[in-house]
Symmetry: C2
Subunit: 249 residues, 2 copies
């Protein structure tokens, strides 16, 4: 008898963005595994809860795979979408390197609303055109590849979204990224979208020349406009931001 690993995206925070599929499968789980704050978001249920610290993704993945091998129906929970800088890749890394029997398990990935979509919706339509999604964490990749990607993304005139833009261990990362972009792109609209959809939501609309790196924390989604992204001014109200579908040279 073997169980199942369900890798479930909880969306950016509020219950209104948890899909019916995620809710239904969470109710079926015998075990819930994840970083503490995400486990805390799962509604009460009889499931055993295994909250762990941040940055132990592969340990957490192995734990889930072991429990499922023993017959459990395990939910591995992530904020946002589990495939975007969250637990799905860690589980498949553990499978590839681990017990061959894990390849026979039933592993289901349940998509969710990822942070960039919630932030974009809050602002208007900044992703109206082609875009790139980049994690600024250099825990697992060298800064040289991050810088290469920033340069390439500007070269392609993509809208850019940054996940993991800063942390206590890497407070300078986002400042270095802004420096690269200023050098390559000149001026651009920048939005710092913190905790979108949550009580402490905070939106700062600024620009590459004016943005302050110290206003970015690990809960901030950073959006950088393309050369075409613009504001629709609305007097006293917050402007809408959008990227036209049409691209004019």
């Amino acid at each position: 008898m073997t169980g199942r690993v369900m890798i479930i995206g909880l969306g950016p925070g509020p219950a209104k963005w948890v899909t019916p599929e995620a809710s239904a499968l969470l109710a079926e789980a015998t075990d819930i595994i994840g970083y503490g704050p995400y486990v805390d978001r799962v509604p009460p249920s009889p499931a055993r809860r295994h909250a762990s610290d941040n940055r132990v993704e592969v340990d957490r993945a192995r734990h889930a795979l072991e429990l499922a091998t023993a017959g459990a129906d395990v939910a591995v929970v992530s904020g946002g979408d589990p495939g975007v800088f969250a637990m799905a890749a860690a589980v498949f890394e553990a499978v590839e390197a681990g017990d061959p029997a894990w390849r026979d398990l039933d592993i289901v990935v349940v998509p969710g609303v990822t942070a960039v979509l919630a932030a974009a919706a809050r602002l208007g339509a900044p992703l109206g055109h082609d875009f790139c999604v980049i994690s600024l964490s250099d825990n697992l990749k060298p800064w040289s590849i991050i810088e290469k990607r920033l340069v390439a993304a500007v070269e392609g005139d993509f809208v850019l979204a940054f996940y993991n833009p800063a942390s206590k261990a890497r407070p300078d990362q986002i400042g270095r990224a802004f420096d690269v972009l200023r050098r390559q792109a000149g001026e651009r609209i920048v939005v710092l979208a913190k905790a979108v959809g949550r009580p402490d939501e905070d939106i700062i609309v600024t620009s590459l020349s004016a943005v302050k790196p110290e206003e970015v924390d690990m809960r901030t989604l950073v959006l950088i406009g393309s050369s075409q992204t613009r504001l629709i001014e609305r007097g006293e109200a917050e402007p809408w931001i959008y990227s036209p579908r049409r691209w004019d040279a």
Copy 2:
């Protein structure tokens, strides 16, 4: 008295991927506007339904803005997420160019699960690393900017997702894109993910050297791996596909 425009993402197809927020706001709408097949997905309600043809996005947006100005509570529906190659940008384009009174309207964008997230979840974790999302439609941008973006995305070694990869009016677009990628990237894992989550779902796992452009249609999400993306073989079962979080030179 003025109404509201709600620009709502219905997700890739099945009801399990429609968020509670989308369902709640659809139930409040007095009018539902959208491309016919999306309007048909909205559960029965007393709302007036205004189904329109494809490729009349800005007309549809103006219609919604006019109805809201007259007091209606209008839902503009899109598949997936409304901000990703869907109706949100068209509405803000119409606002920018239209009646200044439209800037005082209550316009709400409701995020959804976009196709690339559902396709990635179906396959494993192919977006485990940085990625670019590109529309291959050249209705609104010249092929030269599409080609420039493809070259830049390969330069940055991003995973790539293509929306609108082909249509009856543009059957050759995807073949041209594959040609550019083969020239720039050499070999890569390619997945054609058609109608993910729907009864006629069809997944083809192939490569840049073997992919057949004629297998791509307008309902296909095309995923191109980065240099790091790999398969986890599982004997008779379909392989899992993932992009490791760690990037090694």
